[in-house]
Structures are given as C-alpha cells and as structure tokens.
Symmetry: C2
Subunit: 376 residues, 2 copies
C-alpha cells in the first residue's frame, strides 16, 4: 500500500490534470489501465462526470481485479435531464457500464414507496399486464453503494439504465398530471406542490416538461434551462415537441423546426404515439395504482433514424416515489394529463401529414416532411 | 276587482287547503279553471311546488286569457336535484308547462359567462359538432321574468327543461372534474373550491354526485341528502349507480340493488354508457372550451323501461357558469373525471354481464339480471 504522501501526490496530480483539461478522456476505464500511475498502489480516476472514485489494489496480480472494479465503476449519468443530480457534494443517481442505474433511496418515506412499488412490479401478484410492464425500467433490487455526496454507503435502487444503449440520445422527461400531490400527503407538501403546479404548466396543460436534451448535429446537445421549460406555454410546448423530432433543433427560436423525424419517432406502429396510446388504454381501466409526480420519458437516437430509418423510440415511466393505491378508482389525474400530451403529439403528426399530402400533390416525388405550421 | 278582505279569504282558503292536503292536485291548471273561485276577480293557485302565483283577470271574457296565463305559468321545478332551489324567498330556476327552464342569470360574472356560452352554442361559428350539440340543453335566449325570491323582474336564461317529457324521472347530477376551479378565478374562489373538492369525492374520484332522485315504485322518489352524497366513497358511488338502475332502490342500504334496468339504461347503443363514450371521444380532442364545475345529468324513466323496454335514457351537460377558453389544450380535468365515471358504469355493466352469463348457464330460461356483487 502506498504512503499517505504518495496518495496525496497522486490525487493532486490527477486533480490538477482533470481541472486543466476539459477534453479529459470520456471513458477512463482503458485510460486508467494504460496510465503508468495505475501500477502504483492507489490511484484516482476522474470520470467526465466530475466524480472521483477511490480504488485500491495490490501488485500485478490484481490487474484482473482492477479491470473488474473499473468495469463496475460508478459515474454520474451523462444523459440525465431531470431530477436531483449527483456531483459537487450532492446526492443523485449513478450509473455503471453494465447498463444499471443506481438511484439513492430517499429517507423521508418516498424511498420506501418507490422500493415497494418496484418490488410489487416484479411480483406476479400485481395485476399489471405484461405488455404494460415493459414501460417500467427493469428492477434489479437494492444495493448499498457509496453515495455521490460523499456521505458514505447508502441504499440505492438498482434499475435499468434506460439510455445505456444510446450514444447520443434525445430525451424528454414529462411529469404527468395537473396535480403532483396525493390526498394523503402532508399539508405542507400539498401546499408546496399546489403552488408549483400553478406556477408551472402542470395546471394548464395537465403535464410539465421537467427536462430535455436534443441532439444537435455537430454541436452536442441542446439542453434548455429546466426552470424555463417547466413553465412553457401551450405554444412553447408545441414548438419544443416539434424541435424534439427535427434535424435542425437549436436554441435559436427563429429556426422553424423541420420535423424531419416526426413520422419515424412519433408516428408508426412502434412510435411514441402508439406507445402512449397503449399506456392510455391501460390507464382508462386500471384502478390499482395512482401515479403522482411520475414522468413519461421519451428517448430516441437521431443517428439511428438517419442510418436505419428506425428510431428505437421508447416511452418509459419513471419516478414512483409518490405512487399510491388506486382503491378501485382510475388515475384520472394521470390519464387526463396523458391524454393532453397525446393530443399535442397527435396534432403535430396530423399537421405533418397535411404538409406531406400538400407536398405530394404539388410534386409527386416530394414525400418528405416539410416545415409544420404552429397554427393548427 | 274583489276587496282586500276577499283576497285574503281566498288566499287563506287555498293556503289552508294546500297545507291540509298532501294529495293536492299536481297540475292545477285545469283545477283552477274548474274552481268556482276562479270566477272571482283575483285568485291564487298553488302548484305542487309550493309557489304562489297572483293572477288578475276581469269577467268571463277573460277565460281565454286566463287559460293562456295558466299555460305559461311559472313554477318551481318538481325534479330539480342539484343547484340553487327556488322557494321560501330564495332565488332559483323556474319552469313553465311548455318545456322551458328559466335559470336566473347570476350577477357576479358567472351569469354573463353562461349567457356567452349558450349564445356561442347556437352560433354556427362555434366548432362544436352537431352530434355533440345534442348534449346541451336547447337555448331559447334570455327573458325578464319575476324572480322566485320576490325581488322583482330579473333576467333569466330560457333553456330546454330536460325532464319536461317525463312523469317520474330518475335523475343523477354529477359534477365532473377533480377540480372545480379555473386558473383565472379569484384567489378566494379558488381556495373555497379547493377545500370543497378535497372534502367531497371530487378529488378522489374525479367527480362528485351533486344530487339525485330515484323513482321508488309506489313511494314516489328516493332523494338522499345532497350533503351526504357529495362525500360518497368509491364504494358508495358504485352502490348508488347500481341503485339508479334497480327496481328495488331505496334508502335501506341493506337492500341489494337488483340492477333490473342496467342493460337498458346503461348499456346498448343508445344507453348512457354509449352517450358518455361519445362525449369522451370529443373531449379527447376538443381544445376550444374547458368546462369547470359543469355537470353530467343522467335522466331516464323507469315506467318507460318497463312498458316499452326503452329507457329514453339521456345524458345532458348542464351548468356553464365556469366555462373558459381552452386555448389549444384539451380539458384534461373534465376528461379525467368523465373517464372515471365511465369506468364505474362499465364495471357495473361488466359485472351484470357476468351474472347474466352465470344465470344463463345455470338455467337457460333465466336471462334477466340478478343481483350484482359490489366486489368487482
């Protein structure tokens, strides 16, 4: 084992290098193995996510062990668009390289609700049909791991990392329901949610966009400010839902989204609209659970659409810290918000269809999607 | 003109007779004509609704005039189950014998919203499809008439009296939406509604039953206390929705509703469920109007079902004092509540189908509806 001085030297060396270089290698697993300092007794690696991982190993016989440790090394998710984010001493979710997402279990009761929900999800007793289960992240149990805020070991939910199969996913997190609080909650919690639902678009639209990132060709991601998007008007939501499926999306509101990917991502039998309609059909009848403050996550990869004409567009439900029993009543709050979102997306598709039809009439060869009007 | 003493005598005479007799003739129009006191200069008639009408006429030549006055005489509706009720110096709606319903126009802005709504309804500019317009009462304009609270002439909406064609209608008034307030309302109004939505079943179920009457064979109507029914639990709502279509409905909660009329009233292509589904289909797309604190009225006549096997069951939307523009967003609050009501009714129908199937299997001749379990 190296001395404390050696350790500090290494830590400072890596730290300095990391802070100097903004182009720090994205995946340090191989980098660390090749780094000569890896042959010392203790070393630190820095991930692009600004998280430091302490690793200890002894001698050359431990290379395999190091490799396994590095494979399972936890980092801050690159593509998280909403929720609490890890880093700078803050508690947030972590991911590993095997496609798992580690979500800290909140200690104020919300955590236990979410654990109970996921546990019931894998139980065959729960009356959630199989075709609906696919909308929930796969649950791998719970695990004690180092919390991202440096507070030591803490219990985490181990879930499927929904975006692990993507390189540059475009993602939108939409919190469904005009009301994010449930009747059984504390008066203080109700009042805070009540205020936020009124301040954001939840009350008016039946949902609010909690976060989003849109892959912007050649310039990484366009990731608008979360506080702004939560308060979007109907018109702004319509615009950003069109930007989400456009090749020319950018922060520049003067650019009219071209809706290039609308039919592939939103439309078709496997598209986002079809998936949302499948969810809606279930919510029209299911009286088992009410999903307060739960989000619909829409994910797809622009590159895949371009290359394969298949978007792999996926809808997932996430965040179940406020799931309560339905007691024989449908979740009218979630259903109403979901229907509102569905109507926004349907309108965009219809608008695009009209444009395509017009374009086809004018020029039979032209059947690609052109700019959609926002006035529909 | 008779003297004041004569007038008082007549008034007291009628009054005494009315108070003595609970079997007071229901429609006094003919009764008054035949009554020898009708030949005096001034007389009072009492309608079953406890409303006094002053009529003045002069001599035999005025019989035709009297007849016309009596035909158009206003009275308190016999079958009003919700809302402000006229009588005892209170302002409320009145009806006449020609099938019109006179609703006082509220002076605090709500009245003008309702007038504007009905006016837009008859305008061809409004994008409400014809098959949906039938769900709204017919609008006959506005009219200055004597207010029921004795405050003098007041402007009233003149609407179709939905139950005028019925002798003994069973009626349920269901206020739709988990939220009865609209974002633009005053803070005071919002807080009052917010409290009431939480205290009643609105928040939990997405609707609350505002009032109901169920024709009870041989004993008039069963009309439970409005304050109680507004707070019904899911289980109690399920029960009363079954009582609504049963031949043995009564205040006695020990009696299991027989659901005799369920398939005719709720089921079938013209039944209540089909009508609610038609409305739902419109609400999934319409972004013109948001209907806060609006009710679905379900009306049918037991006698008709028994005699003709057709219920004439009707669904109407009533109360538009809190209708606001949709601004391109669907009415997710109304839609969610409507879907919740639809699910309750669907479950009752499904339960009845299961019972019928079971009964048919046991005895091929037995295909009538038997008691439904509340556990579905």
């Amino acid at each position: 084992m190296g001395s404390t001085d050696e350790l500090d030297d290494l830590r400072n060396g890596f730290n300095g290098r990391a802070r100097r270089s903004k182009e720090w290698v994205h995946d340090l697993m191989i980098g660390a193995l090749l780094d000569e300092r890896a042959q010392s007794w203790v070393f630190w690696v820095r991930r692009s996510s600004w998280m430091w991982i302490d690793l200890a190993f002894a001698g050359a016989g431990c290379w395999r062990h190091l490799f396994l440790i590095l494979c399972n090394m936890l980092k801050v998710p690159d593509h998280q668009v909403a929720g609490h984010q890890a880093g700078d001493g803050k508690l947030g979710p972590l991911i590993d390289d095997s496609g798992k997402f580690y979500k800290p279990i909140q200690s104020d009761g919300r955590g236990s609700i979410e654990v109970a929900f996921y546990t019931s999800l894998v139980s065959s007793d729960t009356n959630i049909p199989n075709h609906i289960r696919r909308f929930f992240p796969i649950f791998h149990g719970t695990k004690l791991i180092e919390a991202s805020d440096g507070s030591g070991q803490q219990l985490h939910l181990v879930l499927q990392d929904i975006v692990s199969g993507h390189l540059s996913p475009s993602i939108m997190d939409i919190k469904i329901g005009s009301r994010t609080w449930y009747p059984q909650a504390s008066e203080d919690y109700i009042q805070r949610c009540f205020m936020k639902d009124r301040e954001t678009s939840s009350l008016a639209l039946g949902f609010r966009i909690s976060g989003l990132q849109i892959e912007s060709k050649g310039s990484g991601f366009w990731k608008p400010d979360r506080k702004l998007i939560q308060k979007f008007t109907a018109e702004e939501v319509r615009l950003v839902l069109r930007q989400f499926v456009s090749s020319n999306s950018s922060a520049d509101s003067g650019v009219d989204p071209d809706c290039t990917f609308v039919s592939t991502v939103y439309g078709g039998s496997g598209g986002i609209l079809a998936q949302l309609l499948e969810l809606k059909e279930w919510f029209e009848h299911q009286t088992i659970l009410h999903f307060y403050s739960c989000s619909v996550l829409m994910v797809y990869e622009k590159e895949s659409v371009v290359k394969e004409m298949s978007s792999g567009a996926e809808v997932k439900l996430v965040d179940f810290a406020h799931v309560v029993k339905g007691n024989g009543v449908i979740d009218h709050n979630f259903l109403g918000g979901l229907c509102s979102l569905i109507n926004f997306i349907s309108e965009i598709l219809t608008c695009s269809d009209v444009h395509t039809a017009k374009a086809s009439l004018q020029d039979p060869k032209n059947n690609c999607y052109t700019n959609c009007d926002t006035q529909n």
